[in-house]
C-alpha cells in the first residue's frame, strides 16, 4: 500500500510534547483552584497540593511546566518556521464547503451515516483539504487559547499588570483552558474511538498515512 508523508518528525515531537505538557498543566492547574471553581472538587485540590509539597509548591510547578510548554513551541517555531507558518495558514483558512462540512458532520457522528440519512439529514460531505474543518476548528481554538493561556499566565506569574487586570487574567485563563478541554475531548474521541480515523492516529507515530485514506478523507490535500 502506498504511503503519504503527513507529519514530519519535528511535527510529531511537538505534538506529543504539547500533549504531555498540556495534560500536566491541566491537572496541576486544576489543583490550584478551590471551592466552587475547583473542577474536581476540594479533595482533588488538597491531594495534588500535598503531592507538590503545598499550594505554593504546586504553583511553582505549574509555572515551571508552563515555561517548558512555551519552550517546546519556541524551539519548534525556531527550527521549523516555515512549516509552523504553513500550519497556521492552513488552519485559519476556511474554504468553500467547510462550513457545510461542519454543519453536517455532527449528525453523522452521533447517528451514524445510514441512520442520519434515514432521518433526513444531509450526509454528503464536501471534500476537505490537509485538515478537515473539524481539525481546523480545533487548531484555531487551541492556537488562540494557547496564546491566551501563555499571555495571561505570564501576567499572573510575573505580576506585570495592575491588580484588577490580574483578576481578569484568572477568569480568562480559566475560560481559555475550559474551551480547549471541550475541543480536546472531541479530538481524543475522534482518534481513540472512531475506527476509520485509526490511520490518523498511527500517522502521529509513523508520520505517514495510506494513500487511499488521504484520498478519501482529505481529497483536496495537494
Amino acid at each position: 500500500m502506498n504511503k503519504r508523508m503527513r507529519h514530519s518528525l519535528a511535527d510529531r515531537c511537538m505534538h506529543w510534547g504539547n500533549a504531555l505538557l498540556w495534560l500536566l498543566l491541566f491537572f496541576s492547574g486544576a489543583g490550584l483552584l478551590q471551592g466552587g471553581l475547583a473542577p474536581f472538587g476540594d479533595g482533588y485540590t488538597a491531594a495534588v497540593r500535598k503531592l507538590a509539597g503545598g499550594g505554593s509548591g504546586l504553583l511553582r510547578l505549574h509555572i515551571i511546566l508552563g515555561c517548558v510548554w512555551m519552550g517546546i513551541f519556541s524551539l519548534y517555531i525556531a527550527l521549523n518556521a516555515k512549516s509552523a507558518a504553513s500550519f497556521l495558514r492552513e488552519i485559519f483558512s476556511v474554504r468553500p464547503g467547510d462550513l457545510i462540512w461542519l454543519r453536517r458532520k455532527p449528525a453523522i457522528m452521533l447517528l451514524g451515516e445510514h441512520r442520519a440519512a434515514a432521518l433526513g439529514f444531509e450526509t454528503k460531505l464536501p471534500p476537505q483539504g490537509f485538515y478537515n474543518m473539524g481539525q481546523k476548528a480545533f487548531g484555531m481554538l487551541s492556537v488562540t487559547a494557547g496564546v491566551t493561556l501563555v499571555a495571561t499566565g505570564l501576567i499572573m506569574a510575573t505580576g506585570f499588570a495592575p491588580p484588577g487586570f490580574a483578576g481578569w487574567c484568572v477568569t480568562i485563563h480559566y475560560i481559555a483552558c475550559g474551551l480547549t478541554l471541550a475541543g480536546l475531548l472531541v479530538h481524543l474521541y475522534m482518534t481513540l474511538a472512531v475506527p476509520e480515523e485509526r490511520p490518523g492516529l498511527k500517522s502521529m507515530f509513523s508520520g505517514s498515512v495510506p494513500e487511499d485514506y488521504a484520498k478519501h478523507h482529505h481529497a483536496n490535500w495537494e
Partner: protein, 243 residues
C-alpha cells in the same frame, strides 16, 4: 488556641506609634499600612464633645470575606489559632481579596506583587516577641494574646468586660478584635465586594465552561455508544463516503 487583639480604645491618644512600629517591623511600602487609627472628631457644640480614637488592623475574622474571594486559596484561616494568613508563594496578586475586606485591611504590595496585611507580626512572635504595635503602645490601648489562656493579657482584659466587635451591617464576620466597653467611630466599614472578574468567573464562566464540557462529553458518549452498540453497516461504507 484563640489569638485575639483586645483594645481599650479610650486609652488611645492617636500618637501613631503603633503604625510606625508596624511599618518598620513589616517593611510596608511607602503610603501603605497594615494598621490604622480611626478618628471620631469631637462635636465642640455639644456639652460633652466626646472625640475618640480607635486603633485597628486586620480583624482575623472567624468568617472572613477575603478567604472565599481568593481563587487559589493563598488566603486562608488557620482554624487552630484563628489567624487569617496569606501564603505568599500561592498568591498571584490578583487583588480579589482587597475589596472583599469590609475593613480595608488589605493592599497589594507593589514590589512583592502579593496581598499584604497584618499577621500579628508572625516573624516577631517566633522570636517570642509581641506584635510590634502592641509592644510599642504607650498607653497599652492594644493588648494581644490567646483568649484560651486565662493568664494572657488579652484574656485578662477581656474577662467579663463588655465588648464591641466592628461589623459592616448584615455581614457577620465575627472579628477576633475586641473593643472593650465601647468604641467609636463605627460607621467606616464598607460593603465587602467581589470584583467583577471574580463574579463573572464564578457566576457565568465556570458554570458555562462546565456545561459546555459536559454537553460535549455527553454527545461523545452517545456517539461512542452508537459506534460500539449499533453496528449498522456504516463500517463497510466508510471507505467510500466519508471525508
Amino acid at each position: 488556641m484563640k489569638l485575639a487583639m483586645v483594645i481599650d480604645s479610650s486609652r488611645c491618644v492617636d500618637c501613631k506609634a503603633c503604625m510606625i512600629s508596624c511599618s518598620t517591623a513589616n517593611e510596608t511600602p511607602p503610603g501603605r499600612h497594615r494598621n490604622w487609627i480611626k478618628t471620631k472628631p469631637p462635636e465642640y457644640s455639644a456639652a460633652r464633645p466626646g472625640g475618640h480614637f480607635q486603633p485597628g488592623a486586620c480583624m482575623h475574622c472567624e468568617y472572613p470575606t477575603c478567604v472565599p474571594a481568593c481563587p487559589s486559596g493563598a488566603t486562608w484561616r488557620k482554624t487552630e489559632t484563628g489567624e487569617v494568613l496569606i501564603d505568599e508563594g500561592l498568591c498571584i496578586g490578583c487583588g480579589n481579596c482587597v475589596p472583599a475586606c469590609p475593613y480595608g485591611a488589605r493592599y497589594i504590595h507593589g514590589k512583592r506583587r502579593v496581598a499584604d496585611k497584618c499577621d500579628y507580626c508572625a516573624s516577631r512572635r517566633v522570636q517570642g516577641l509581641e506584635p510590634a504595635c502592641v509592644g510599642t503602645c504607650l498607653t497599652k490601648a492594644r493588648v494581644f494574646g490567646d483568649l484560651d489562656d486565662p493568664g494572657s493579657e488579652a484574656a485578662k482584659r477581656l474577662g467579663k468586660a463588655k465588648f464591641v466587635q466592628l461589623e459592616y451591617p448584615g455581614v457577620a464576620t465575627r472579628p477576633a478584635m475586641f473593643y472593650v466597653k465601647e468604641t467609636a467611630p463605627d460607621n467606616w466599614m464598607r460593603k465587602p465586594e467581589a470584583p467583577a472578574s471574580l463574579r463573572f468567573l464564578s457566576d457565568f464562566a465556570a458554570p458555562g465552561v462546565k456545561t459546555l464540557v459536559g454537553l460535549v462529553g455527553f454527545g461523545l458518549l452517545a456517539a461512542l455508544a452508537r459506534v460500539l452498540l449499533l453496528k449498522d453497516g456504516d463500517a463497510k461504507q466508510q471507505g467510500g463516503a466519508h471525508e
